[in-house]
Amino acid sequence: MHFDPALAAELQRVLWHRRTAGDGAAVLERRSFLKLGAAAGFALGVFPLRGSAQAAEGLKPTEQPAAFVQIDRDGITTVTVNRLEFGQGAHTGLAMVLAEELDADWARVRARHGDASPAYVDPAFGMHLTGGSNSIHNSFKQYRELGARTRAMLVAAAAQQWKVPAASLHTESGFVIGPDGKRASYGELADAAMKQTVPQQVTLKDPKQFRLIGKPTRRLDAQAKSTGQQSYGIDVRLPGLLTAVVAHPPVFGAKVKTVDDTAAKAVHGVKAVLRVPTDRGGEGVAVIADGYWPAHQGREALKLEWDTSSVEHPDTLQLLAKYRELARQPGLKKFDADVSKLTSAPHRISAEFAFPYLAHAPMEPLNCTVAFDGQKAELWMGTQMPGFDAMSAAKTLGVAPAAVKVNTQMAGGGFGRRAISTSDYVVEACQVAKAARAAGLNAPVRTLWSREDDIKGGYYRPMHVHRAEIGFDDKGNILAWDHVIVGQSILKGTPFEEYLIKDGIDDTAVEGMKEPYDIPMRLTVHHPQVNVPVLWWRSVGSTHTAYAMETLLDEVARASKQDPVALRLKLMGDKHPRHAAALKLAVEKSGYGRRKLPAGHGWGVALHESFNSVVAYVAEASVDKGVPRLHAVTAGVHCNLAVNPLSIETQIQGAALMGLSTCLPGNAITLKDGVVEQNNFGEYRVARMPDMPRIAVHIVPSADPPTGIGEPGLPPLAPAFANAIARLTGKTAPRELPFAQV
């Protein structure tokens, strides 16, 4: 999900058009936005309570402090964050950034979600989006300026009260301080500050003055999340709330043939059994009850016959054979190079890789609560794209976009599953709410997926096959590299298609190929169409491109008897100092090549850039009776300025663990005759406590504007592990994920 800045403007234009087109409803006017900004929240001491009157004319909604900062009279400072918090730490990180320039007292800073109002779009993309590891990257300057503007208004208020020049005042930890040592708290000044004009120009701190940014800082939600007090979308409680579960078609897009709901309706607590449209033109049966358990029991009691005759029945074994066949022919050209030297090269590698479909499986099962009165609707759910979802809900419910209010809720994970241009689970919940209302049920309805619904529900990381032919000389110089990727396009048919599919090639399928190495590569791509919905999945294309690239490069190093670190440094030359720094840091801290490993243990190295950040891993692994085990990982991370080093450490640890999951037997979604074969965490295996290696994270110091951290830790883990396995076994690295016996 690399967005070119030039494309972002285009995307903004398109999405804006999409927002205003269709239902004929106007975009929320600026005035409405300001009302939204000021109306939400506290009864007393709201800052700026009447902010709309003083809003700076030249500033965009995303630049107005009114919508982002509230200071109570007791100094509690609440930062509204324009991103979904689902574990990645954006709420703590962006609150730190704003509090830094505001000189707030960190102990009094809180964070909360923004809603779907235009104020909370990503300032670079112009749409509501939490994704692409962009929260800090795209909003760093924005939140600094918001903090600085708010601070300037507080200083101006104090200057006015004390009748001194603003320049004679300074701020410190929630206080404005005068030349004579006179102090006024931000809480005391909040009312007067909100009457000040929002300044157009603000001067930001010199990074040397940072007190918060760069300091390892615990999460703002740590207490709530350690004590069961944190509320998520699934925990929303409304008067009369009903719960729905939907029997989904067994094959994507199939329809109901017959329903016998006699037994289902007899379950105590079941209110209605209704046929509802489901994703991809399918049809399902919703069981609505006064709680999840009766709804679930009602669904179990349904006697259903399905008509799957009109949809394709994908089968992953057959697909794999087809993909392998396709990979033997060149596809659409991404990079070109002279590959004629393949035939004359002294050494040659031919490799074919297979990567399975993967489910995101966030711990909080997907859910969406809808209160619909026929004219307007209110929704509650964890979503990475509340703007999109609001539009999808409006379309589904047949109301104007302005009649839909989305309340973004804290989400129990997501990994991409909640950024979905079809809004599948939101649309389904709206279909259920609409059907419930038509059936005379006048109550909000929460549609809740079981884990089985989630595992079987599609929108997977696409299955891929890679094929590579590499020619190289005795010194490991790569003479030609011919590479073919086969896999479904994630973006085809979505609003992103126009911008991220070029010459028929989906950028998300090829991101991470070739760079940073100076190698003559021809890369071509096939995008077969398959009846399996696919989606971005934490680190997207890099989940497979990094594996192919980094295991092949290691193979070249082994075949030419070179050190894999030295070969990488040689191939990247002096053009990639961030890559080199991350790699060297991981190597140095791990003791690679210097430290003696326990008997039977081996080193593996891999390096990858994604979302503008570079992560290098040095892994220590062993193989016991064919079973590989990862013992320790040392990370070298280059994400420019480390806003919250603690958050970077936890994100790298978490992404590495998710990368490890992809190596473990059972971490794959397979289909037979159109039906997903896995049901729950029994068949879809993910890493557990005993699988966890030691992970040490080291960050390259930098003062450049921060880059992504939620995803970049994932891609290099599997290849680093695989390269260690290859060195231990003397065979090639595993060619398939998850690993079989080696």
Binding site: R219, S226, G228
Partner: protein
């Protein structure tokens, strides 16, 4: 109407005796700290204590909990060990999305009730049933050891 003893209080639960304890807590009693993750005792998000021992509430019918002491995440902080575990969770910045952490805290507390100084193998065994997709295991392990040290 089944009567349960939850967090030190007797509570009447208006639900069928076969209803899993998880849904009685969440939907009937409005105690949403205990989480639904898999419904099959495969992920541990719903872990509560029955007489101090960890059980998966998603597969424990309320009939099986009658007459026993049920403790949930809402009250585990009133327990000396539970309180130490929660404090260690915060010190180590364990949670990310946090959704599984109620269950993790309940499993860790149950472990420390029986093993005051758990080894890595003890931790692996006691915590293997609790899935965290964010990958916080490394910090959970450190927090358990830290809590044990504080309790010693």
């Amino acid at each position: 109407m089944p009567q349960l003893h939850i967090n030190g209080k007797d509570v009447n639960v208006d639900a069928d005796p076969s209803t899993p304890l998880l849904w009685a807590l969440r939907d009937t009693l409005g105690m949403t700290g205990t989480k639904f993750g898999c419904g099959q005792a495969l992920c541990g998000a719903c872990t509560v204590h029955l007489n101090g021992a960890p059980v998966r509430s998603c597969v424990t019918p309320i009939s099986a909990a009658e007459g026993q002491q049920v403790t949930t995440i809402e009250a585990i902080g009133e327990d000396r060990i539970g309180k130490a575990v929660q404090a260690a969770w915060i010190r180590h910045d364990v949670a990310q999305c946090g959704y599984c952490q109620s269950g993790q805290v309940m499993s860790a507390t149950a472990l420390l009730k029986t093993q005051r100084q758990p080894s890595d193998a003890d931790i692996d065994k006691a915590m293997a049933g609790n899935i965290c997709r964010c990958g916080t295991y490394i910090r959970i392990r450190a927090a358990i050891k830290d809590a044990a040290a504080h309790l010693a």
